[in-house]
Amino acid sequence: MSARVKWRRFVSNFMLTLTGLCALVSVSVLFLILGYLVFNGGTSINWAFFTQLPKPVGETGGGMANAIVGSAKLLMAASLFGVPIGFLGGIYLAEFSGGAVASVVRYAADLLNGVPSIVIGIFAYSMVVLPFKQFSTLAGAFALGLMMIPITLRSTEEFLNGVPRYLREGAMALGASKWKTIASVVVPAAYRGILTAILLALARVAGETAPLLFTAFGNRFWSRGWEQPTASLPVMIFTYAVSPYEDWHRQAWAAGLVLLGLILIINILARTILSRGIAVPRS
């Protein structure tokens, strides 16, 4: 074997090993993050964390009960706003639309999907906070809901398009009208995919902080209603992490662990709902 061939073999093996290392490093980041969160936050997760309000500055202890409930409220309201628009809009795109209108809607959705979350926050601020003259849970939910729309819309369309034609034809041949076909045959056939997409959208906005900073704002107490500002887990993590207090850092780690755990569980759940063979579309 000539030296040249040997050299080429060596380069090949060397570079391919290097790419393997790249992959290893990239994936290990996930486990590093998880490890750090469990190591630093694990000991701070206790009963008080889930049941108590934040203590005043300077006192140790307390929890984030209000932020956990606040996040749940925000996500619920955001889904109520974002999912119907995305889902029904997706049905329109897949089943009713013709040409030009559909491409305009698709383009708008893609554009909306690419808008930085902080800009979504500005928009929600001027649409909801300014008219009502106060930060509110609703404004935060509006911002998060906006971010759910494009993901839900595009994946609903994608999964409906994936339903085989003969199912539709079968239903129509039995005399069902178009919307009945859609409601009783097409959507049920695609529901796993659509559910996955909605869960993934939920998981994505669950960790969003930037759009909440000046919409839902924050609150050290229980939020008294939908038109009042509310605490949320991501914003709590942010304020606690950049604060100078040792006890707050401890709680930020705990909150980070809870939030990330929640998001990863939703993600894994969503991906297992999908049976193999259907690809999860990326946002």
Binding site: G20, V104, P116, K180, R204, G207, T209, A210, I237
Partner: protein, 329 residues
């Protein structure tokens, strides 16, 4: 087949000839209208977003015009606003993050697409997808407590001693700064580069690889000289996509960049980025000009990501279609 076809054909005209009223009774038209309204609302919201950003930033556009982008003074007390330090910070951190993330991301995607057996590749891709789902505030948390101290104790001395004569690596270091933000951002965008590049590489037709191997090239040569050039445009697309993400990245950057509206050549110096200044100052912005200047920064950010996303999508579509087109032949 022969029995099915006539049925469909006869159903077609019959459905078409039904009166509008009977269609209405079946609910088809109503369903169409309702779903149309929801689809149209997406367009409406998007248009409204752009319109709102535009009219809400009228004041600084009138007062400063294009000077807004080239002046360095950001002084709420004197009511003078210049965006240059923020634009500089956003660009520098994005470039740093891409310099770190692109080689690593493309390397990993080559491994996933070309080398790893499908099962391992899918498993690793699953972890990469999970990594992409980690929220930015968590990256910020780790940035503040892990990367910033690491920066102060290890990376700064390590780079400053041998390379301190270069303006980029001059001290002192506070831990927070452009380089810290760039590193955290790099970690955040790597999953996007990997996912898209892997997809693009996988769409390169098999015969391209086989032809290269048959001509006697090594595995690496076929990958680097044939497959990667074939997928070049799509990989560029993935980089643009990552850049768009990096530019709009808010929380993690806000937590580690140092939040100082200054332009410094040193990567260890604290700085500021467009998204970070909006996040920090929006709620405290008193006075219309202040608030609207921040909104104009939002508009700039929107336009930048809009252009980059558009370009990225175009490049990715071009490559994947090229791949599938040749493959089907």
């Amino acid at each position: 087949m022969a029995t099915v076809n006539p049925t469909i054909q006869s159903a077609g005209p019959a459905a078409g000839s039904r009166s509008f009223l009977s269609k209405l009774r079946d609910g088809d038209e109503i369903a169409r209208l309702i779903t149309f309204l929801f689809a149209a609302s997406v367009v409406l919201i998007t248009v409204l977003l752009v319109y709102e950003l535009w009219i809400s930033s009228a004041l600084p556009r009138q007062k400063f015009g294009l000077h807004f982008f080239v002046t360095q003074v950001w002084d709420p007390v004197m009511d003078e606003y210049g965006a240059l330090p923020f634009i500089y910070g956003t660009l520098v951190t994005s470039v740093v993050s891409l310099l770190l993330a692109v080689p690593l991301g493309i390397g990993a995607s080559i491994f996933l697409a070309e080398l790893a057996p499908p099962q391992i590749s899918d498993t690793l891709q699953f972890f990469i997808d999970l990594l992409a789902a980690v929220p930015s505030v968590i990256y910020g948390l780790l940035g503040v407590f892990i990367v910033v101290p690491l920066m102060r104790t290890v990376i700064f001395p390590g780079l400053n001693k041998p390379l301190g004569f270069l303006p980029f690596f001059k001290g002192p270091s506070y831990g927070v700064g452009f380089l810290t933000a760039g590193i955290v951002m790099a970690i955040m965008v790597i999953p996007y580069i990997i996912s898209v590049s892997r997809e693009v590489l996988l769409s390169v037709p098999r015969d391209q690889r086989e032809a290269a191997l048959a001509l006697g090239s090594t595995r690496w040569e076929s990958t680097w000289k044939v497959v990667v050039p074939f997928a070049k445009t799509g990989i560029m697309g993935s980089i643009f996509l990552a850049l768009a993400r990096a530019l709009g990245e808010t929380m993690a950057v806000t937590m580690v960049i140092g939040n100082t509206p200054k332009i410094s050549a040193s990567l260890f110096a604290p700085g500021y980025s467009i998204a970070a200044v909006i996040a920090n100052e929006f709620t405290e912005a008193t006075g219309d000009l202040y608030l609207q200047s921040l909104i104009e920064l939002g508009l700039v950010l929107f336009l930048l990501t809009f252009i980059l996303n558009g370009l990225a999508r175009l490049l990715i579509i071009v490559t994947t279609q090229k791949g599938s087109g040749v493959g089907n032949r």
